[in-house]
Amino acid sequence: AYRTDEGQPWVLPVVKKVEQMIASDNSLNHEYLPILGLPEFRANASRIALGDDSPAIKEKRARSVQCLGGTGALRIGAEFLRRWYNGNNNTATPVYVSSPTWENHNSVFMDAGFKDIRTYHYWDAAKRGLNLQGLLNDMEQAPEFSIFILHACAHNPTGTDPTPEQWKQIAAVMKRRNLFPFFDSAYQGFASGSLDKDAWAVRYFVSEGFELFCAQSFSKNFGLYNERVGNLTVVGKDADGVQRVLSQMEKIVRTTWSNPPSQGARIVATTLSSPELFDEWKGNVKTMADRVLLMRSELRSRLEALGTPGTWNHITEQIGMFSFTGLNPKQVEYLVKEKHIYLMASGRINMCGLTTKNLDYVAKSIHEAVTKIQ
């Protein structure tokens, strides 16, 4: 979760404002939302992902389901695909997740019934970057119609994203091999500070004519973690097909949670449908993204100034909340035990944990760990 420079959680100012608006609106009640969710939320959320001028939206072949966070969107998408993709109830369709990936990806697809979950090459530990060739090879070798979980931006946990040129190569292979793109978009806006930039990959795939799913989370970019605000955007070739898809997703939703929670969707819908509030929100998002970017550049410059062995440009080349530092498990253990700096055994750090007050300490500690322990 995001933290301020004081190390505190941050409720976005625009969210506070909108919550007060909602609280004082006596015309609002707590009635059930439709099974597929709040219509104003769904439409606006998809618009954010696909762009105002998206041909898919104009042609009514992009629709969505309000879900409980990004996890809920992934799950409903997975449950649908297991029932209706590549035949009926084809649990053997391979599902590919990046190596590494958010660990819950595996469980979501497993619990949805898929029996064959594989990894595709992604992180190159030696060069601390994307193993594009490995990734493309895996796609070439993957059985036709395999499902690929792609991180739309700010890859979790590595922070390493393909460049636009690399995305183009990925898309070309996926098109030729008939692979299904399922985007996980948990950080739109939060990664670069720009909604459009962070949605570039998803929009590129849409423009290339793909049918795809995009699981959107508003936990981070709206700071609405505990309200569980998510959206599963479905892009198809034609409006009729997408309508049928949604009618089947409705059945799945009905037996999972019946209808989604109202509070978070109202906040997002109100914000996105008002030009002033929308601008205010974009400003809040940029505040968060800029702080993370600042911490990245400050950490890197300190490590380079200290002469810490190794290269540290990956700290600023990576993007989003997380960074794969490249520290090995022993070095991590040193940081945890001796320096009380908590990070994952994988060497993943949450950049949000860095503040102007602790940057020096963290940089020095990393320096110690790397010089003392190999």
């Binding site: 059930y32 009926n88 049928r244 059945k251 019946s258």
Partner: protein, 401 residues
């Protein structure tokens, strides 16, 4: 070509269809008796005062929006368990239970269904009363269970077929799962009497069945939360370790906030901890952690003495209004000159009433009188007001005389 060419159009929701048709109707006297939500005597949705107060208190605290634990808000789950089990319950006091927050009743039922599918290896069979809430069947089916039924409603008397139920239950294979509605049976409104609950408890104990209680209307049925939870508490006292799904949609009017809970009564606190760990493993790949808003409101109400008192009186108010509409409907039918026995309308309890009307009669009610209900003759008494109960009685009399 598209991946979705072979995807069939899902069937339209039967209850939604009723509301859609109602909306299109231009008759000023129209009535929507399909609605599964409480309405006040003006036919409007009702936001409880205690809910508004709780919301104001919560807003003043200026809390953050950090993720809840996977199992939900602890103050909420503890209060939910205490509400269901009773503060003096041995099971509650000893801590030999686990309660996780669920997405209202449906989500709680589904967590339980998935848990049983994964950990209750003795049987795949879930026995539902005939009839049951329409969504029970697909929930358990999607969780990987099989559905069976036991006799419950007697259409001839519009009441409980107790001997049929006991007969069927006595033949259920050992270690099967049996689902019981704790109170205000949906859709019939027919509940067992306490003596009948005692016999049912003895029988399920004898047959060694796993009991799954669905309690969606605690407080809302009789107006008394303890009375409505009597069966749940009795079963536990008899040594039956039940599993339980609770909803706060109706009794707190928190429908769209999705406040609910799933409870497993265990042998001891250690077992409860192990069960909890497995429930979390099921929840995480579904939606990671539950929504905070409804749980915070419910928790504030249950844990603040003044608010809790106010809630108890408001829930009694809702229950009383429903009971009074039942009474008025019967007396209006008599006034209309109906010679039929309508006692079941006041014998039944909760939001719903199985009128006993046949499909042809329902069709006439819809077409000739713009009174909308589901084809099985089920009405939501919540949709009846003192302003329209006379019209309803008139319409029912016309199609049944």
């Amino acid at each position: 070509s598209s991946w979705w060419s072979h995807v069939e159009m899902g069937p339209p929701d039967p209850i939604l269809g009723v509301t859609e048709a109602y909306k299109r109707d231009t008759n000023s006297k129209k009535m929507n008796l399909g609605v599964g939500a409480y309405r006040d005597d003006n036919g409007k949705p009702y936001v409880l005062n205690c809910v508004r107060k709780a919301e104001a208190m919560i807003a003043a605290k200026k809390m953050d929006k950090e993720y809840l634990p996977i199992g939900g808000l602890a103050d909420f789950t503890r209060a939910s368990a205490e509400l269901a089990l009773g503060e003096n319950s041995e099971a509650f006091k000893s801590g030999r239970y686990v309660t996780v927050q669920g997405i209202s009743g449906t989500g709680s039922l589904r967590i339980g269904a998935n848990f049983l599918q994964r950990f209750f290896k003795a049987s795949r069979d879930v026995y539902l009363p005939k009839p049951s809430w329409g969504n029970h069947t697909p929930i358990f089916r999607d969780a990987g269970m099989q559905l069976q039924a036991y006799r419950y409603y007697d259409p001839k008397t519009c009441s409980l077929d107790f001997s049929g139920a006991m007969d069927d239950i006595s033949k259920i294979p050992e270690k099967s799962i049996i689902l019981l509605h704790a109170c205000a049976h949906n859709p019939t409104g027919v509940d067992p009497r306490q003596e009948q609950w005692k016999e049912l408890a003895a029988l399920v104990k004898k047959r060694n069945l796993l009991v799954y209680f669905d309690m969606a209307y605690q407080g809302f049925a009789s107006g008394d939360i303890n009375r409505d939870a009597w069966a749940v508490r009795y079963f536990i006292e008899q040594g039956i370790n039940i599993v339980l799904s609770q909803s706060f949609a109706k009794n707190m009017g928190l429908y769209g906030e999705r406040a609910g809970a799933f409870t497993v009564i265990c042998s001891d606190a250690d077992e409860a901890k192990r069960v909890e760990s497995q429930l979390k493993i099921l929840i995480r790949p579904m939606y990671s952690n539950p929504p905070v808003n409804g749980a915070r409101i419910a928790s504030m109400i249950l844990n603040t003495p003044d608010l809790r008192k106010e809630w108890l009186s408001e829930v009694k108010g809702m229950a009383d209004r429903i009971i009074s509409m039942r009474t008025q409907l019967v007396s209006n039918l008599k006034k209309e000159g109906s010679s039929k026995n309508w006692q079941h309308i006041t014998d039944q309890i909760g939001m719903f009433c199985f009128t006993g009307l046949k499909p042809e009669q329902v069709e006439r009610l819809i077409k000739e009188f713009s009174v909308y209900m589901t084809k099985d003759g089920r009405i939501s008494v919540a949709g009846v007001t003192s302003g329209n109960v006379g019209y309803l009685a008139h319409a029912i009399h016309q199609v049944t005389k």
